[in-house]
Amino acid sequence: MRTLDELAEGPPHDAAPAADASVSQRRWRTTVGLKVLMAVTGVVLVTFLVLHLLGNLLVYQGPTALNSYSAFLVREPLLLWVARAVLLLSAVLHVGAAVLLWARDRRARPVRYRRVARRSATVASRTMRLTGLGLGGFIVFHILHLTAGIIEPVPFNEHDVYRNVVGGFSVGWVAAAYLGAMGLVGLHVWHGAWASLRSLGVSRPSPQPKHRPVAWLLALLLWGGFTSIPLAVWLGWVR
């Protein structure tokens, strides 16, 4: 006869998988930890976006207001570079965590379904990785355009941000790129802001957990605010 232990040829029902050894060492790198990290860095980035928007809206007060704001930033290099370092770090962590999770998710479902009926996922939630990728590319472009002045649709003037902006947005393809990118910002923030608060566990339980007033507010504010500037330039309200 075969005795009890021989019977279990494959891994027994209650056996732990081999990867178990890493549990104690892996500290924050669980799926939940990575999502917390993405949420924290996401909050930092969205906070920056809100501040950035407030700064940008100075464009409506004319060249003096906007240029003196940017001059103020340049006068405080410590503040500027600390902020840039924090942003860069956040972006790197945010993307890094996203990549790790993405790789994990790919492994988690090796065989795809033949047919998929989505009931709850939104365009925004399903395209977070794409919109994120698009935003990454856009940020590089944006920095090359308005911060470093390497891409010059119109001649770049380091001390006249207002001209750079208005001049840039007067060029059709530049304005289109910005408008498109702001759509991505809206989608990404609409899902991201809502998801971040839940990943941080700070949202309150609700009978309709998919209602998202904060996310709507932020997404509309950022999308609308940023979009208004190229539009205003294009319509000739700001010149």
């Binding site: 029902h13 209650d14 732990a16 998988p17 990867a19 178990d20 890493s22 549990v23 892996r26 500290r27 924050w28 669980t30 799926t31 939940v32 930890g33 990575l34 999502k35 917390v36 999770l101 994990r104 998710d105 492994r107 988690a108 479902r109 090796p110 065989v111 795809r112 379904y113 033949r114 047919r115 998929v116 009926a117 989505r118 009931r119 709850s120 996922a121 939104t122 939630s125 399903r126 977070m128 899902h191 809502w194 998801a195 839940r198 990943s199 941080l200 566990g201 700070v202 949202s203 339980p205 609700s206 957990p209 998919k210």
Partner: protein
């Protein structure tokens, strides 16, 4: 009623699977989806063909044994039910149904529509319990539990462990399953002493089993036959983060206890 079925057939975990097409007739609207499959199997058996292997036991929607993807939706299109309690009156005559097993690395296909969900058992055994040896319990009425707390705990405790959340999740994440158990026990005063340890252990095991992460699509909640809320996943994040922070402060994880009357 008649149906055209596109069914996943796979002989064993190592074999290549493929879809096979079947036509099944003689179905009445009062049949459950599984009774429709029974009918198919009787028809296959009388032709001497191998019946389609699928899992079921109680057939009243509580044991959690059954579950397949029907046209891309876990437990079928209507929501809030398991396939054993899904009736053919919800489909239209002549419809083509694509029937697939749950798909996840952590749920390997054993045969046809049967998958191995023992990963769920291992997640529970990692910490999804209250450690109270038989005989050690105090008198039942010694701790009062506010009705709201008990009701919220029951909402989460209703999980039947069918795996539809994993199947429906684009990332094959088990976050809803884990969140349901953490919420059930974490919302009751009895669950407080082990709350932090439980969150750490169950999350770690969930990851080791190879499930994906939660991206807040909400598909799990939509597929859950017991309509368990994704709020439970937020609670997982909170419990886990607090436990981590507390552990980081080198205090005992037990100090992360907090108020129970959450909702």
């Amino acid at each position: 009623m008649n149906f055209v079925l596109q069914l996943w057939r796979q002989k064993n975990p190592r074999a290549e699977g493929a879809f096979s097409r079947y036509e099944v007739g003689g179905i009445t609207p009062d049949m459950s989806f599984l009774e429709m499959l029974d009918t198919l199997n009787e028809q296959l058996a009388s032709k001497g063909e191998a019946p389609v292997a699928f899992e079921s036991d109680c057939r009243e929607g509580i044991c959690g044994s059954c579950g397949v993807m029907i046209n891309g939706a876990a437990h079928g299109p209507i929501g809030g039910t398991t396939v054993c309690q899904l009736y053919m009156r919800h489909f239209s005559d002549g419809e083509e149904l694509v029937i697939e097993p749950w798909r996840a690395r952590a749920f390997p296909v054993l045969r046809d529509l049967i998958v191995d969900r023992s990963a769920f058992d291992r997640i529970i055994s990692a910490g999804g319990f209250i450690s109270v040896p038989t005989g050690a319990a105090p008198e039942a009425s010694s701790a009062l539990v506010p009705k709201q707390g008990a009701d919220a705990a029951m909402d989460s405790a209703a999980c039947i462990g069918c795996g539809a959340c994993v199947a429906a999740c684009p990332n094959a994440s088990a976050a809803l399953f884990v969140g349901a158990k953490l919420s059930h026990l974490g919302l009751l005063p009895q669950g407080q002493p082990e709350r932090a340890r439980r969150a750490l252990a169950m999350v770690a095991r969930m990851d080791d089993e190879g499930f994906g992460n939660c991206s807040w699509h909400g598909e799990c909640q939509a597929a859950c036959p017991k309509s368990i809320s994704i709020d439970t996943i937020a609670r997982t994040s909170r419990d886990w983060s607090r436990a981590k922070l507390a552990a980081g402060r080198r205090s005992t994880p037990d100090r992360t206890n907090d108020s129970v009357s959450e909702p």
